[in-house]
Symmetry: C2
Subunit: 340 residues, 2 copies
């Protein structure tokens, strides 16, 4: 899922996303709650109509952004009191409110309201936090969502195996339409992250989607798919695009590098995206150096196309029972990281 | 002609421009000469291929930007020595060099190298400047351009009727494939501008295009068309779009105004542009307030579509001998300027 924080995948229109073959995107409840406000979006016919996007949308619960962006937070059993990072105004979010806001937005997948502990955190803190997340998950499920909305629970428990398992089992007991692994990609190393995924997935429902939140690089995604994850969201393809870092089967290229100034080739010869079908690396470098707005759009189209094809290839490999040979080829194609 | 200063009409791709029905665009020789450099563009197959645009391109001569953007200018019979506004590097542009640069760019219409005197300027200064522009025009014509390129001369002479007529007659004597009126929209009032246009056009060739440089608002264009002008370029539709000022048949709207926060209507009900077919004023206001990059693209699409339809309507009116009734309707539809 590309990230459309404020009801827009940065620099792209829904026409671009459809051309790329994006099937679902994520929007941030925290941002839309603050601006323009969920009531306005509801009155305008919901988020799909507001942003002109007819395919599925997943909204997060707002919790993660409250912890990472807002200020002056007060956490209690009820929820979180915080100040907006935009204008300092005070707001409250909790399980019931997060459900109500996402119902107003009208997303297809609603995420339960959770607490995401900082990393690293002591066992006792993470245990208490996970137990709060479980109580909040129950309140979210009891509140319920709109009739065409699916509700996903979020497994927490930090890097502690028994807490992750306890969290997963409690959520399964409550019953959700999908399960997310939250609280990763917050500073832990790759080995720890993959260990936690490996320890958690077997305790989730095999017939329900498993969603790893906020991950990641192409390598991270390939490894998580190997471990049984089905869904991802990450700002990496879009944010990197805006910074001129472009994904290819061989690794990333930094488009501002002087070596591309006269390079008539597309970013990637084999790529079928709009950008690669029409423009040279030299033109993309020029747009980036001249800070032309079009650079953001063309680079983002390419990176999202790369990710969409990667996910497509992973689905095909799974369907054909060729995931391991796909992964071998994936790693063989990659160059050592580019210098500079 | 929308303005594509640095080989990009800001925020749009060539796909957007084609959808809008843009038939020709302008690119700035000064900017492309400095970055990425005309030799690089030549080596990459010319400007059309570089920017992925297959329809006509007009390039200006670079002169106007040297006077308005560059620093430390020294003007002589030979040309202009100046320092780049990007990195302070020293460069020379003159008639022959401006032709060579535009030949390398491969534009369809090449503009002669001229001097554009500041406004207001004394008669003697403007006379000498106009005579220099005439000598430079001869050198441009003598140097010649590429075989598929047309060369336009530029009439100067400030606000002085006899100088404008002398300039026009000298250029016609030299013979160009089109004639531009330069040196307007530099601070003179509307009455003066229209007087100069009215005094100049009858002295140009009736079978050649007349191009009014750097103009203007929809009203300016309608008046100039009435006076016999055929072609225009202006940053107004694109720059205003990026500032959230949107053109409609009734006048401009300022999309950030609070009155649009919950407005489900498109910018203009009758407009067929991509933006109006898919998005509400409320969404466009939200994107603008959230400084989303998509705001620039969607607003620019609308404003250029507005201008493209205006020009189309003017051509139809001329063809049907209905220009005066068209103009009456055009003015009747317009509201008094919006407050705030």
């Amino acid at each position: 899922m590309p990230v459309g924080t404020a009801a827009s995948v940065k620099a792209l229109g829904p026409d671009d996303l459809e051309d790329i073959g994006v099937g679902i995107l994520l929007a941030n409840t925290y941002h839309l709650f603050l601006r323009p406000g969920h009531e306005i979006i509801r009155n305008l016919g919901g988020l799909h109509r507001f942003m002109g996007w007819n395919r599925p949308i997943l909204t997060d619960s707002g919790g993660f952004q409250v912890y990472s962006l807002a200020t002056l937070r007060t956490l209690s059993e009820e929820g979180v009191v915080f100040r907006s990072h935009i204008d300092g105004s005070e707001h409250v979010l909790g399980p019931e409110k997060a459900m109500a806001v996402q119902e107003a937005l009208g997303s297809d997948i609603v995420m339960a309201f959770d607490e995401c502990p900082p990393y690293p955190s002591e066992y006792a803190y993470v245990r208490d936090s996970m137990e709060l997340t479980t109580r909040w998950a129950r309140r979210c499920r009891d509140r319920g969502v709109g009739e065409n909305q699916a509700l996903f629970g979020i497994v927490q428990g930090g890097v502690y195996r028994d807490l992750r398992i306890a969290s997963a089992e409690a959520l399964l007991e409550l019953g959700f339409e999908g399960y997310a692994i939250g609280g990763l990609s917050v500073g832990e190393n790759k080995e720890t992250r993959e260990r936690v995924i490996a320890e958690t997935v077997p305790h989730l429902a095999p017939d329900r989607p498993v969603y790893l939140m906020g991950v990641g690089t192409p390598e991270d995604i390939v490894e998580a798919v190997r471990l049984g994850v089905d869904m991802f969201d990450c700002v990496l393809p879009t944010r990197n695009a805006r910074n001129g870092s472009l994904f290819t089967a061989e690794g990333r290229i930094t488009i501002k590098n002087a070596q591309y100034a006269q390079d008539a080739r597309p970013i990637e010869e084999a790529c079928g995206c709009y950008t690669c079908r029409h423009f040279s690396r030299a033109y993309l470098r020029h747009l980036f150096m001249a800070r032309e707005i079009l650079a953001y759009r063309l680079n983002t189209i390419h990176n999202l196309y790369y990710y969409a094809r990667l996910m497509e290839a992973l689905r095909t490999a799974i369907r054909n029972d060729e995931l391991e040979s796909f992964c071998r080829t994936f790693y063989e194609n990659r160059n050592p990281p580019e210098q500079g």
